[in-house]
Symmetry: C2
Subunit: 203 residues, 2 copies
């Protein structure tokens, strides 16, 4: 019974590997333990429960988002949104988690706080700042969810399995035209992002 030299960080590393490789559904405590050469219950010495693993993964993702509030706020907010998008696209299997769990972990809160501070410096009220962040973040998450769900390398089955072109001609036509390359996605993303940003302002 040699010691495995585990740590919270190593466990999260392995969890992220596992999720990237086989998807979220494959992440179970037993499977994660096996990945680390350890029984499932051992993990509970480092983490209180499975939710803590998931929170840890989300937190890492959010903590890695760049926040550089210099210059006109719309410009760095745009960069922030792009950075968030990149962070999410790096581990698309985590998207359902990020989309669903409210931000309450240290890394996520830290990122939020930094953006909020900078927005308040731009004459947003704290409440409005939070709302702008929520709007931006959910916008980005939604876009990436849609993009990652319809991009090559997707887990599930074809995007629209039971699509009858007679009944849904426009949708069928759009899908038949293809959904575009990664560049197309980024292009559409920035287009909609700018649309949104240009309409937001301190009130």
């Amino acid at each position: 019974m040699k010691r495995a030299g585990l740590s919270r960080e190593k466990i999260l590393d392995a969890a992220l590997d596992l999720v990237d490789r086989d998807g979220i559904a494959a992440l179970s405590m037993r499977r994660l333990g096996k990945e680390l050469g350890v029984e499932a219950m051992t993990l509970y010495y480092y983490l209180p429960n499975k939710d803590a693993v998931l929170d840890g993964l989300v937190d890492r993702t959010l903590a890695g988002v760049a926040v550089r509030p210099e210059g006109p706020w719309r410009e760095w907010a745009r960069a922030f949104a792009l950075s968030l998008r990149a962070a999410l696209l790096a581990h698309p299997a985590l998207l359902p988690l990020v989309a669903t769990r409210p931000v309450s972990t240290p890394g996520g809160l830290e990122t939020v706080e930094r953006v909020a501070r900078a927005l308040v410096a731009e004459r947003f009220s704290p409440t409005d700042a939070l709302h702008v962040i929520t709007t931006l973040a959910t916008f980005v998450i939604g876009q990436v969810l849609a993009e990652a769900g319809r991009t090559p390398g997707h887990d599930g089955p074809d995007p629209e399995p039971q699509l009858d072109p007679a009944r849904h001609p426009v949708v069928g036509q759009a899908l038949a035209a293809g959904l575009g390359t990664a560049d197309d996605h980024e292009d559409r993303f920035t287009y909609a992002l700018d649309a949104l940003l240009s309409g937001l302002a301190p009130r």
Copy 2:
């Protein structure tokens, strides 16, 4: 062994009740069966598997969204977004499902197709129309997710459990100021929605 007089619809009714009452996590086939006075396996006569139950719930939600494409497109698109928001708020427990599952069920597709057709009539290309719909839908879902997660009547624990006001002053200040009434939420929603809509146009 009396017959229970079940049907797909009745099962989905009960599932929706259950989810509204006890949250998504409480929805299991056994529990749903018990709710209907029936063993779990009986449900498999009407639905192929649990995913079909979830899809059915999402489909109902999406099918009930009003699409009335008359007048200037930004106006009816705005109404569509508001209708979607209302449909989502009616069953907030379904949000994680709606946010996560790609639209592939008949009711959802029907709604998408109707909006897409109307947008194409406004000189959007089919691809762009789909993108506008995606953008609108994910925007609404994201907003409602944020709103429902921070509104009284929420399942989980307090929104920001481990918030240290010294470390996160702005976030703390905003939360201390309160998140507002339902009207405040709708106000912020329409504000951001208009910001987004005013920036979108056929290209």
